[in-house]
């Protein structure tokens, strides 16, 4: 400790080198951020220029026309998509939130909870077409035909683990101190969850849930051989139903120019719907 160390700080060479390094990384990180914007605006621009021409009132209120006829719309696909998403959400949201409450609040650190977490991660990284095949085996084969219900089931399987993980993340941000406060007043676990934890986590959970809805709302693969598609109106969950992603797929894979235009238009509509859902939710929850 006795020999004094001579510090040489801020030598000219090291200074300019560090400044250059800083500038270089500023450029590099900025360029990476810009790269992200290119596909986003590319997609939007492409969808608008290609699709806008096919968007008119008919597009929203008419059924798809048979092959060879021009015009028509995707009204049944819009309604069908909403129906399938609502059915899937009605099952996946309570199921996902409750499962999350179990693994975070009732049995954190238990073996069963870590298994559930692992299963969720597995399901989240499973290609969605596999979930579609699973739904095909579980529902379509048993019912003997395609149905909206089978599509909703596929999306339910896909959405639940997303909801579980998103909710879990939010529940973790609720400070433990208010759980202790509730328990210290003689609250049961469930009372603590219901009256304290969930209200504190509400806006975060709502955000997570809607983002999950938006995500499965654009899925095609799980619906191809479950909900299948339908030329006509159908509001019966036991029957095949048209959905936007599947309709886009059918339009796009056809050889007809008119259908291609409609595919672009339907894609534009889907992107707008999802963007509206996401940004509304963000705006609503940011205010609180």
């Amino acid at each position: 400790m006795s020999t004094p160390i001579k510090l040489e700080l801020g030598g000219a060479a090291s200074g300019s080198l560090r400044r250059m390094q800083n500038r270089m990384f500023l450029c590099l990180t900025g360029a990476a951020a810009l790269t992200l914007l290119v596909p986003l605006f590319g997609i939007l621009g492409y969808l608008v220029t290609r699709g806008i021409g096919a968007i008119n009132l008919d597009f929203f209120i008419s059924l798809p026309k048979p092959v060879g006829e021009t015009g028509g719309g995707v009204a049944n696909a819009i309604v069908g998509s909403l129906m399938v998403i609502v059915m899937a959400g009605a099952a996946a949201i309570p199921c996902g939130v409750l499962a999350s409450v179990y693994i975070c609040e009732f049995a954190p650190g238990s073996r069963f909870s870590s298994i559930i977490r692992f299963v969720c991660d597995m399901l989240n990284s499973t290609p969605s077409i596999i979930l579609g095949i699973f739904a095909y085996g579980m529902v379509v084969l048993r019912m003997g035909h395609f149905s909206a219900l089978a599509g909703a089931f596929a999306l339910f399987v896909m959405m639940t683990p997303v909801v579980v993980r998103a909710t879990e993340e939010i529940l973790r941000t609720v400070p433990n101190s208010i759980r202790e406060a509730s328990v210290g007043l003689g609250g049961t676990r469930w009372q603590t969850v219901w009256h304290v934890v969930l209200p504190a986590a509400r806006s975060g959970i709502v955000t997570g849930v809607f983002l999950a809805l938006a995500r499965v709302g654009g899925e095609t693969a799980p619906l191809l051989f479950t909900a299948f598609g339908n030329q006509f109106w159908n509001l019966d969950p036991r029957q095949p139903i048209n959905t936007l992603p599947v309709q886009i797929y059918k339009f796009a894979t056809s050889p007809y120019a008119d259908w291609h235009r409609q595919a672009w238009a339907a894609a534009l509509l889907l992107v707008i719907m999802i963007a509206v859902i996401s940004s509304t939710v963000r705006a609503l929850t940011a205010r609180r």
């Binding site: 509730s182 210290g184 007043l185 609250g187 009256h195």
Partner: protein, 253 residues
């Protein structure tokens, strides 16, 4: 003084996994008295305190050995209703922890979850508790505003009011003033003085002057052991044990 024992800990040990944080502590907590627990950081004061209403149960790795009697009933016996124990032995935490709800709902919470439905009863009890915590005059005109908008000292008194609302018999306080400024601290200390008429109070503090000011009895903890417990005056003027003396005179270490 004919001091009745309200809580009696007998040969109590608390483990976090394999780590024994409280070691064979036996201690009487007297009714309608203030008992202070002092000792260096990490010596097991909070752990001991939380054992008195089984708050440690909610930490998965914790295990307790020994007994704690509340009015002669062993609260660690099988088939004891933990909820009931916590209703009778309330707790105020080191960091004030109001719910993100209105002032009114914070105080009403304990009543609601314990099945009180009557609006009138709840309103009366909320007022009584806020008065009991010397907070009523400051908040009576803004009961519906968020508790999170209050000052730190007010939040801590709100937490005391919240605990009082379900009329516990014992109040456990874990360094209730450690995050507060001197004026807010003084208010809490005055409050403790008033509360002991109706409640048995156990307070953890790392502030020895505070222990001397507010308590009737003081227990000194060191590395999980209760070194000495006696009337506060005795502990601070003529402690029996050398370690106690070293600690209170600041010759520790």
């Amino acid at each position: 003084m004919t001091d009745q024992s309200k809580i009696s800990a007998q040969d109590l040990s608390i483990f976090y996994g394999a780590n024994r944080a409280v070691k064979n502590v036996s201690m009487e907590i007297r009714e309608n008295r203030v008992t202070a627990l002092i000792g260096p950081s990490g010596c097991g004061k909070s752990t001991f305190l939380r054992a008195l209403n089984r708050m440690n149960d909610i930490i998965p790795s914790v295990r307790a050995e020994g007994r704690v009697f509340l009015d002669g009933q062993d609260i660690y016996a099988p088939r004891v209703d933990v909820i009931d124990v916590r209703r009778r032995v309330g707790m105020v935490f080191q960091k004030s922890n109001p719910f993100p709800k209105s002032i009114f709902e914070n105080v009403a919470y304990g009543l609601r979850i314990n099945g009180v439905r009557s609006r009138k009863v709840i309103e009366q009890q909320v007022e009584k508790s806020l008065r009991g915590a010397a907070l009523w005059d400051e908040v009576k005109d803004r009961l519906q505003t968020s508790a999170l908008a209050m000052s730190g000292g007010q939040q801590q008194r709100l937490c005391i009011a919240r605990a009082l609302a379900i009329e516990p018999e014992v109040l456990l306080m874990d360094e209730p003033a450690s995050a507060l400024d001197p004026i807010a601290t003084q208010k809490i200390e005055e409050l403790i003085h008033d509360l002991k008429r109706d409640y048995t109070i156990v307070i953890v503090t790392h502030n020895m002057q505070q222990a001397a000011r507010v308590s009737d009895f003081t227990g000194f903890f060191l590395m999980g052991e209760l070194i000495e417990v006696d009337e506060t005056g005795t502990i601070f003027t003529k402690p029996t044990r050398k370690q106690t003396e070293d600690y209170i005179t600041g010759r520790f270490g």
